[in-house]
């Protein structure tokens, strides 16, 4: 686990019980394509992005981009969230136990650590047990990048809402009804700007929470898209990356359309969590993950151009890695694509917007808050002045 600004990051890898594999796969498919099933997660208000991936193969240390199958399949989870880790686990366990069981209940060790069965009722999750389970499955995070380190998911959601409300309020009213609606929007905008506003979803947000994920899941394009690249990593290269992490190598993504990015390590022993006949990995693996606005191609190009040296450090020792030169552009894309894992389920805490837009919306919200507060204060002073004149 790692902290940066107001957001925290968590990456876990958990072996899936073979007899439950089919069930988990279909469940992930259902939640992905059923609008609204992500709603309870979003209502917690502290998730920026979360993804679930089933890892069935890993690229071998030698060989040219081939993959070798694993004895066990693994559930890879990655999340960016606000608040403390304890709060996060407790909120999940207490408020969404069924969802939690649905996502991790098929993994080795979950039942023993966290699941509590009750006769004649739904099972529950013990938060400390869940935290123990997560701790034992957590990956080391080397470094990370956040485009909005000082803003919570709720801040961003409110900033996006404010922008929409102000845009609607500023439209030329066509009739009395739309003029009334515009006035209403203006008032809502003021409340949103001044905050704090209720963290519960508005009707508009509820609709978006149902419709947008469905549309995105069907198209496979989330607006903000996840990218997960897994590559073999030698011990020496891991040490070099740890050393380089002190200089925050992912900060090169500043000013790009990357919302979050991180480097994590899957150690060779992590695949042995006490299950029978575990996988014996001959090397550690490096995970490069990101959430970025636009197509994955654009983000890979950003990595090539903005993180060139870091990309070479991350992947330079891998067979077939072509380097980040302009001449190797096509091969670079092909190589990264060949090491990319497919996301099974993806959750975004706010409507998909570009980084530049969200920065603008956050600034707009800060300015609007100042403006509204000043307007109010001026109105108060004017009234006070008028009263003094009368006296």
């Amino acid at each position: 686990m790692d902290e940066a600004g107001t957001t925290q990051a968590l990456t876990t890898l958990s072996p899936i019980l073979p007899e439950r594999m089919r069930e988990l796969t279909s469940r992930l498919r259902v939640v992905r394509y059923t609008p609204g099933l992500g709603r309870p997660l979003l209502q917690l208000g502290f998730i920026h992005y979360a993804r679930w991936i089933i890892v069935e193969w890993l690229p071998p240390r030698t060989g040219n981009g081939g993959w070798h199958g694993l004895r066990w399949k693994y559930l890879l989870f990655e999340g960016n969230y606000d608040g403390s880790a304890g709060e996060y686990f407790r909120a999940f366990s207490d408020i969404l136990p069924a969802r939690l069981i649905g996502l991790w209940g098929d993994c080795v060790g979950f039942e023993r650590a966290a699941l509590r069965r009750h006769r004649g009722g739904a099972p529950s999750v013990q938060p400390s047990g869940f935290q123990t389970f997560i701790d034992s499955n957590s990956l080391e995070i080397l470094t990370r990048f956040a485009a909005f380190p000082g803003s919570t998911a709720i801040d961003i959601r409110q900033a996006v809402t404010l922008n929409e409300l102000e845009a609607e309020a500023s439209r030329e009213p066509r009739n009395a009804r739309s003029a009334r609606a515009a006035l209403q929007r203006k008032s809502e905008a003021r409340e949103t700007a001044l905050g704090p506003v209720s963290p519960t979803l508005t009707v508009r947000e509820r609709f978006s929470a149902l419709y947008d994920p469905w549309k995105q899941a069907l198209s496979g394009h989330y607006g903000v898209n996840p990218l997960t690249v897994v590559t073999p990593l030698s011990g020496e290269r891991a040490d070099a990356l740890r050393e380089a992490s002190r200089r925050r190598p992912l900060d090169g993504l500043n000013g790009t359309e990357t919302h979050f990015a991180r480097l994590s390590i899957i150690p060779p022993w992590l695949t042995d969590l006490g299950q029978p006949n575990p996988d014996r990995l001959d090397t550690a693996y490096l995970l490069y993950t990101s959430d970025s606005w636009g197509q994955p191609y654009d983000h890979i190009e950003t990595v090539r151009t903005k993180l060139g040296a870091t990309a070479d450090l991350m992947w330079g020792e891998c067979d077939g890695y072509p380097g980040h030169d302009e001449r190797a552009k096509a091969r670079f894309h092909a190589w990264v694509n060949s090491h990319t894992l497919k996301t099974r389920y993806y959750v975004a805490g706010y409507p998909p917007r570009s980084v530049a837009k969200i920065h603008r919306y956050l600034e707009q919200r800060a300015r609007a808050a100042e403006r509204y507060a000043a307007e109010r204060a001026a109105a108060g002073q004017l009234r006070a002045g008028a009263d003094n004149d009368r006296d």
Partner: protein, 496 residues
């Protein structure tokens, strides 16, 4: 089953309104051997397991003594290291080391605390009916103490009584149709009734309404039925069934299951079980600044000053919750502890609408921050591990010019999850929970970042209270203490 007789008095049950005088004496051990002798004697005097119904008020006149130890205090008494390191980290570190994270900066910073606070070893607390009885007992307890300890800090406190003005009583009587006379109200120096909401504890309080937590009702029955029910809830087609339930005792006392279903962190038997952690935190209240601020803002915003006060706190001065009575206070509710606590923010209740948007009690009001009930995303489950038992008392003269304020005292099984979490996450920040401002009443932390407060009204009016020129409350010191059980006290007294 809670072993009430093992737990020190005033923890689970308050001593009550009859015990209106208190004195807090903080000591530092200078000679361990004679200090242990002294502790052995004091332990004999400590009140354990007092229930409100134990004795009729007329008979129950004996002053009560309580004793608590800081981490350095336990070490000085000779508690072995292997036991000392079973105490939670925040207790071992102490309040001075954690002051900055708690928002104790500027005038509230540890360097400005009353000399000795934050460095003490033993806190003696005496509650009595009258001033003379209290001071006599303290003098007895401290007689000949010089050989073993020095007194670092000695603070007297007393409940402030407010008798309603006759005209106001008549008006209230006419309004309510009932005769209510001569009601003495406990107030702190800003004029508010204090300690209105206390947690309802499993095995101790029969009625969890208001004091407990409002959580999802467990799903029971045939699996396909509740699975379908869950699906409907996820899709937003059915609302989640919720109910009030009491909070597990392990959130307040060591040795019992907490809300995680495990024992809270603490030392093993006999030192830990039935003990609890106490935060002692005298806070000075700047009454003239608060009054002037309220008057100025009320004039600027054309609001009733009483309403401005109430919006800052979230209750009317008499304790009536704004969620129940946004327009005016209601003496019938204020004087009925159960009714004064029987409300939620997200859900409508008996005779009041839902207050989701903070039209009644503002989203940033003090009481809504300190105990958000169901207001946080996710509901009551988010608050059930962050509740504290409060036993504060005002100090200083009501109308005097000298230092006056509140002796904030709270009990919790985990200072990090209770007191510190509430202060840091809900009062001093709250950003991750949708609260953009700080608690206007406390205004702790960097003075450069003082915030105002947004108040929204049902008619779409929004007003903003300006940031105050300086904080209304200054922390004068803090101690993190361990309040041992009867068995633990005897064990400590017999240390060699």
């Amino acid at each position: 089953m809670i072993e009430i007789d093992e737990i020190q008095g005033n923890v689970l049950y308050a001593y009550g309104e009859c015990f209106s005088y208190a004195r807090y004496v903080l000591l530092r051990i200078t000679n361990a051997a004679s200090a242990r002798e002294r502790v052995r004697w004091w332990v004999e005097e400590v009140t354990f397991g007092r229930r409100p119904q134990d004795l009729p008020p007329a008979v129950d006149a004996r002053p009560h003594v309580n004793i608590a130890f800081t981490f350095p205090g336990l070490r000085s008494l000779g508690v072995p290291d292997d036991l000392l390191f079973t105490f939670p980290e925040e207790f071992r570190q102490g309040p001075r080391e954690r002051a900055e994270d708690n928002g104790d900066v500027g005038d509230s910073s540890a360097e400005h605390w009353i000399e000795g606070l934050g460095t003490g070893h033993i806190l003696l607390v005496v509650h009595a009916h009258d001033e003379e009885g209290r001071d006599r007992l303290v003098a007895d307890l401290l007689k000949g103490i010089d050989a073993s300890m020095t007194v670092l800090h000695d603070l007297s406190a007393a409940r402030l009584k407010t008798r309603r003005a006759p005209g106001r009583v008549q008006a209230e009587t006419a309004q309510s149709g009932q005769a209510i006379c001569n009601i003495a109200l406990d107030r702190e120096h800003f004029g508010f009734s204090d300690g209105c909401s206390q947690p309802a504890i499993e095995g101790l309080h029969d009625d969890p309404t208001g004091g407990g937590v409002y959580v999802r009702t467990p799903l029971t029955g045939w699996q396909p039925v509740w699975s379908f029910e869950l699906l409907l809830e996820d899709l937003g087609l059915k609302s989640v069934r919720k109910h009030w339930r009491s909070i597990r005792p392990g959130e307040f006392v060591l040795g019992y299951d907490n809300e995680d279903g495990v024992l809270p962190t603490g030392p093993p038997d006999p030192l830990g079980p039935n003990g609890t952690f106490m935060v002692y935190r005298p806070m000075s209240q700047d009454v003239p600044t608060f009054d002037t601020y309220v008057a100025d803002e009320a004039q600027r915003l054309e609001l009733d000053p009483e309403l401005v006060r109430a919006k800052i706190v979230g209750r009317w001065p008499d304790g009536t919750p704004l969620t129940l009575c946004p327009e005016r206070r209601d003496v019938l509710i204020a004087t009925d502890r159960r009714r004064a606590n029987d409300f939620l923010y997200q859900e409508a209740g008996n005779g009041y609408p839902a207050d989701t948007d903070g039209y009644g009690c503002p989203l940033g009001a003090h009481v809504r921050r300190a105990n958000p009930r169901d207001a946080l995303p996710g509901g009551g489950e988010r608050t059930m591990r962050h509740r504290i038992i409060r036993r504060g008392m005002p100090y200083g003269e009501r109308d005097g010019t000298g230092d006056r304020g509140l002796v904030f005292v709270c009990f919790n099984a985990s200072i990090a999850n209770g007191f510190e979490f509430i202060l840091r996450t809900w009062c001093n920040d709250g950003a991750a929970l949708g609260l953009a401002e700080r608690d206007l009443l406390l205004q702790q932390g960097d003075p450069e970042k003082f915030t105002g407060m947004v108040i929204q009204f049902p008619d779409n009016r929004t007003v903003v209270l300006k940031p105050p020129p300086k904080p209304f409350v200054t922390v004068r010191g803090c101690e993190y203490l361990f309040v041992p059980s009867r068995r633990a006290c005897q064990w400590l007294a017999n240390l060699r």
